[in-house]
Symmetry: C2
Subunit: 340 residues, 2 copies
DNA sequence: CGTTGCTACACAAACGTTTGTGTAGTTTAG
DNA sequence: CTAAACTACACAAACGTTTGTGTAGCAACG
């Protein structure tokens, strides 16, 4: 900047303001500055700007992990929206550990991020580490896995609706004894999916049966274990709705190992619309989570928040509508190819 | 820091040096400073430090995309190693576009990253945008997809060896007319995989046949298309080795659709050891890429480079050894469960 | 004619660190 | 006993921006 100023015979103030399109700089001067900046290949030092302004063009994201389909896709959406708004994204993984989550939040704050986007770790039960974010006036948005009680800004999927759709679909296929593989109840997403399952049953006048609801961490192994447990029940079941695709995959593998036909004997439906749902045999019915939309929505929310830095807090929540992808694992009597 | 200095009646210099364990500060003073820093919950502003030192604790990573298994796992490895060394990681996607790759590199440099780790976009053919990185003295490490001719630091998989192992394995199973689904030849990885395939054939005295080598972008659709093309050949083939798992998946789907048995009629082997290789029926033989090791190695290389900032350039390359996971798609006559 | 409100710019103080240089006093080596 | 080396700290200048305040000229308004 000093070079530019010297070259044009103006002050650095003028340069700075010309580059940031300040109103008090004349159009002619702005043009001259921009042109020379191009010519000298001026590279702004964002660090210095961030230091001065106390705010960078970095957006911090904390997710439990980045494997599978969901989080990479959400991050994808975040990146896209963020870069459109001139922000770069810095991603941290909590590995489902609240301690790491805390450390990550610290790190991001120290990097002077302009905002923090968080999806909670599985074992996060207290939320004090987010107080610091708010007290520094840094916009904070939760997505997918959000704190249960707190007044927070968030974007979530309508998990209840998704589960309801999936379960209703199974009911429409004629299934009546439908089991549910549930996830940890303290996470909002699993709680809502369970509720959707129950609501769908209730709509058909079916009383919930505790034996048919199995709670676990929803890994493939958990799903397999749960399936074996369900098969051991005196009265046979005719469908399983799992709150995650990995679990339903485990269930499918057990069923195939035992020669039980899917969907004729037992129909299956999962949640997340993972890539592999279109690969298994039969292909797996699943609820799509609108991953990229979620990322975009989170960024939009962040932008709104940072546009009005010290507006009084109003809770904002964006709720996305899920979409059920019906595939072979739940279509009674019909053999069909492809998704949707 | 000013608070600390006032409280302890020393200068800010002393505070700074105590915190960074400078030798010229007495042990007693250091203790007092550290203790008070804890007590006052002092949070260092890394931005200011970065500005002053002209270098941050951020590590920039540019990858083509973050879907599938490979890149997320590499990033995982990078994150782990980086955070161990006190660095945070900022990830950008080039979406296989050289323009975006260029922009990303600019962005990272402007964020004053301490180093840049890159895996090239598919259509990157010139490498001028990396000159700026070097000229700023920022350590630069390529991984997996690296420039062909340039003198660069890199960590790669021994792709040739992996392809050789896979092809040799198919030969050992008795296959003799083995097709190869190849990727864009200007990318080192696909070039080496093709070479490994050729070398394995040569070792068995088999002359390469141009009809059996089909080059594409290696998507699932490409794989399906290629498979159909191969099936139309007058003389039938007995195996396919693809340079990527998506392509081999497409091939598998075509074969199953036509009732051709795998591996009895045609054996299959892929590359990347994607998650779905253990899910398909039959499960797919594939070459594992040591993703996380690659990430760790890249960070290690970066750390070495930044330890000796203006040492004369010596080209360094870390080559990781792949591992073949033999599964059902290539095991003639044997039916077995599980990986490895 | 005095006030207000523009346009167009410059001065200089921040932002929170790091670090070269300086200055004592104390120890060690020859 | 003197020079060199070390310990322990302080001063103040950076790093590259942004921004509140100031100033000066000029037009418009009542």
């Amino acid at each position: 900047m000093a070079d530019l100023a010297r070259e044009l015979g103006v002050s650095m103030t003028t340069i700075s303001r010309a580059l940031s399109d300040h109103h008090s700089i004349g159009a002619a001067t702005k043009q001259r500055v921009l042109k020379l900046a191009k010519k000298l290949n001026y590279q702004p030092n964002h660090l210095a700007a961030a230091l001065r302004k106390g705010q960078s063009r970095l957006l911090g994201v904390v997710v439990p992990y980045i494997e599978g389909k969901f989080f990479p896709s959400v991050i994808q959406g975040i990146e896209q929206a963020a870069s459109k708004a001139g922000f770069s994204v810095i991603v941290c993984q909590s590995h489902e550990e609240v301690q790491l989550e805390r450390r990550n939040v610290e790190t991001l704050l120290n990097a002077q991020v302009a905002g923090v986007l968080v999806s909670l770790a599985r074992n996060t039960q207290d939320f004090y580490h987010f107080d610091k974010v708010r007290s520094r006036g840094v916009p904070l948005v939760f997505f997918d896995r959000i704190p249960p009680t707190e007044q927070v800004n968030s974007v979530v999927l309508n998990d209840r609706e998704g589960a309801l759709q999936a379960t209703r679909h199974l009911l429409e296929q004629g299934c009546r004894r439908i089991a549910h593989l549930a996830g940890p109840a303290h996470l909002n997403i699993y709680q809502h999916r369970r509720q959707g399952y129950l609501d769908a049953l209730a709509a058909y006048g079916i009383a919930p049966n505790a034996d048919l609801i199995i709670t676990s961490d929803m890994t493939t192994d958990d799903g397999a274990r749960a399936m074996r447990q369900l098969l051991a029940l005196p009265e046979p079941i005719d469908a399983v709705f799992a709150a995650g695709d990995s679990a339903i995959l485990g269930a499918l593998q057990v069923l195939k190992g035992q020669g039980i036909r899917v969907p004729q004997d037992i129909a299956l439906a999962g949640f997340s619309n993972e890539g592999f749902t279109a690969i298994t045999e039969p292909q797996l019915t699943s609820v799509d989570q609108r991953c990229e939309e979620m990322g975009e929505a989170a960024v939009r929310l962040f932008l709104e928040l940072s546009a009005a830095p010290d507006a009084p807090f109003v809770q904002r929540q964006v709720v996305l509508q899920p979409e059920l992808f019906v595939r072979e694992s739940s279509r009674q009597g019909v053999l069909s190819l492809g998704g949707r």
